[in-house]
């Protein structure tokens, strides 16, 4: 039985942390609805009828290129999640299920990717992408992000796949399923919670990344939203209304994706499989 006091303490600490984490976001959203003068004079006050001004949103929605930047960000994020999950789960399944030469070595090699930051290889990546003629394409971003996220995805998914009882795979083999069908119809549905976890892990850094869009797709209408917002930040004049509005709207898609995936994070899906 937990003491009520310690439960209160836990909630107090968590509440405090939530406030701290939400503060900048609330600040951004609040100020995005205010007139420019009010943003500077009373940055901590919520928007009032007297200083309410949706001019930032108007500029963001008027700017047709910005819509493309959103679409680019969504394409890159969704594409990265898709390929990371597909290849990650397949590799994890192969590494756990099949015994072959170099199995352990390959798993170790992949886990090195968790420890070495991919940005160390930026120069080599730029050269590679340039030689493949993929500069200023979303393909380049998706490829790089997929490579970046695969090691951790394989690591997490392997653990989950190893926990799926061996009897289930063998029952499926007796039922006449091919190895691909076992993977898609037995393994994938059973590791859905793990895949949702990996998706959330993958999604947020990719959505927020500025580094690779800046290096690999800085022009040609292939900018992501993080890069697209930069157009409002000038050396002499910054359109704060538009910046704040763009940032606020940029939260929405990633929030939606999070809600979708977190629904999959239902535990105990495998209970009742065996025993």
């Amino acid at each position: 039985m937990r003491k009520p006091l310690s439960a209160f303490m836990v909630h107090a600490i968590l509440g405090l942390y939530t406030l701290l984490a939400l503060f900048p976001i609330v600040l951004v959203v609040m100020n995005s609805f205010k007139a420019k003068r009010a943003i500077f004079n009373t940055p901590l006050r919520p928007p009032l009828p007297s200083n309410f001004d949706p001019i930032g949103y108007a500029r963001v929605f008027d700017d047709s290129s910005l819509a493309f930047y959103y679409l680019n960000s969504i394409t890159v994020t969704v594409g990265t999640i898709f390929f990371t999950l597909l290849f990650g789960a397949m590799a994890a399944w192969a590494l756990t299920e099949y015994k072959f030469r170099w199995n352990t070595l390959l798993a170790l090699f992949l886990s090195i990717g968790i420890m070495v930051p991919i940005r160390l290889g930026s120069v080599a990546i730029i050269q590679l992408v340039a030689e493949l003629n993929l500069i200023n394409t979303l393909t380049a971003l998706i490829l790089v992000y997929t490579a970046q996220n695969l090691p951790l995805a394989i690591f997490i998914l392997s653990e989950f796949i190893a926990q799926i009882p061996k009897d289930l795979r063998e029952a499926a083999r007796c039922d006449g399923l091919s190895e691909y069908n076992i993977f898609f119809h037995i393994i994938l549905p059973l590791i859905r919670p793990a895949m949702a976890t990996v998706a959330v892990f993958t999604m947020i850094p990719v959505w927020n990344d500025l580094w690779f869009p800046l290096l690999l797709a800085p022009a040609g209408g292939k900018q992501t939203i993080t890069l697209g917002v930069q157009q409002f930040l000038g050396q002499y004049i910054t359109d704060w209304n538009a910046v704040l509005a763009a940032l606020s709207t940029a939260i929405v898609p990633v929030l939606l994706l999070y809600v979708i995936f977190s629904r999959q994070l239902i535990r105990g899906l495998t209970s009742g499989a065996v025993k």
Partner: protein, 355 residues
């Protein structure tokens, strides 16, 4: 249904030989039980028949077709796992029809076959449930149903009852026996429980250390065990063993005395082991002939009408004898025990039966 023939089957994991020269014939429609202690290779043999375990040497034929290199599904077998191995994300009907769906069976036929299996196994009200909403016994029936709908040539059962509680185990055992009659199915069944083996089998195969020690009808194994291992493994409580030497007067048990029994084919001076089951030993008075032993009562276990008395012999060996009714025996009593000469088993120095 089909027969299964296994010839010179060998299986090694690295340097360890787990199956050594297995020869086994499972007749069409028969119920064969593989039984033996843990690690004797019985599950490996079953999995080899299923095709889940590649074999090192030898042949497996199912229905006259060599299946060594075929995948499990092509062997037309169905396996029921100890853990049931139901697909947790599908309801009962989907679980049972899953294999058929991938075999390209028309939907109407899948439904018909699943319905038929559900009717036989009384699963009809549960068809829309998920495995986690079922009890252990129900899951077991679904696992059997999944095997039935595929209409396999051979059913393979891997310790299907060991996860059930005692009462359910007896029920399910009876169900499986009925099902065997109903489907006229060829069944290979692995268990470590000799009661399951005795009650279900047409033929019991006793395995030990990767070898078949003996195969035959249940009572044949019970009354004529081929060697010491089978004699000790089949029957509960286990057979009593007394080491002795063949002499002109009978068998000399050393400190436990001389037993005047018909002389075996073994030569004089041969070291033998004498075996007798608890129910063939009788607490006797002083009267009456036949071979007998002087013992001291060590413990009396009463089970009701029958019971078991643990008897210490002068040499220190403890033997168990069956008693009926209230014998009034108590710990420390001296008791003479008569052995039924018709049911004495003699085993030679190599452990083989001497007739």
């Amino acid at each position: 249904m089909a027969e299964v023939r296994i010839e010179n089957l060998k299986k090694s994991f690295g340097a360890v030989e787990v199956l050594k020269d297995i020869d086994l014939h499972v007749e069409d429609g028969s119920f064969v039980v593989l039984v033996g202690p843990s690690g004797c290779g019985k599950s490996t043999l079953l999995r080899s028949i299923a095709g889940l375990e590649p074999v090192t040497d030898g042949t497996i034929t199912i229905g006259g077709r060599k299946v060594n290199d075929l995948a499990p599904a092509q062997r037309e077998i169905a396996m029921v796992f100890q853990s049931y191995a139901l697909y947790p994300h599908m309801d009962v009907a989907a679980n049972m029809g899953f294999g058929l769906k991938f075999a390209g069976t028309p939907k109407a036929e899948i439904e018909a076959r699943v319905g038929e299996a559900a009717r036989i196994l009384q699963l009809e009200p549960l068809l829309k449930r998920r495995p986690r909403e079922l009890s252990g016994g129900q899951r077991q029936r679904v696992a059997i149903g999944r095997a039935i709908v595929r209409k396999p040539q051979v059913f393979l059962f891997d310790e299907p009852l060991s996860n059930l509680d005692a009462a359910l185990r007896i029920n399910t055992r009876v169900e499986i026996a009925k099902l065997h009659k109903l489907l006229a199915a060829t069944i290979v069944y692995v268990t470590h429980d000799q009661v399951e083996a005795m009650t279900l089998a047409d033929k019991i195969v006793v395995m030990n250390h990767g070898r078949i020690e003996q195969q035959g009808k249940p009572l044949e194994l019970y009354y004529k065990p081929a060697n010491l291992f089978v004699a000790g493994f089949i029957g509960s409580p286990a057979m009593n063993f007394f080491p002795g030497t063949v002499t002109p007067d009978g068998i000399d048990l050393g400190a436990d005395g001389m037993l005047a029994v018909p002389l075996p084919a073994a030569g004089l001076g041969c070291k033998v082991t004498l075996g007798i089951r608890p129910e063939h030993m009788r607490i006797a008075g002083d009267e009456g002939g036949g071979p007998r032993l002087a013992t001291v009562v060590e413990l009396v276990e009463r089970l009701g009408e029958t019971g078991y008395v643990h008897l210490r012999l002068p040499s220190g060996t403890v033997a168990i004898a069956e008693i009926r009714g209230d014998t009034g025996l108590r710990t420390g009593d001296h008791a003479a025990v008569a052995l039924d000469p018709a049911h004495l088993h003699l085993f030679g120095p190599d452990g083989r039966r001497i007739s």
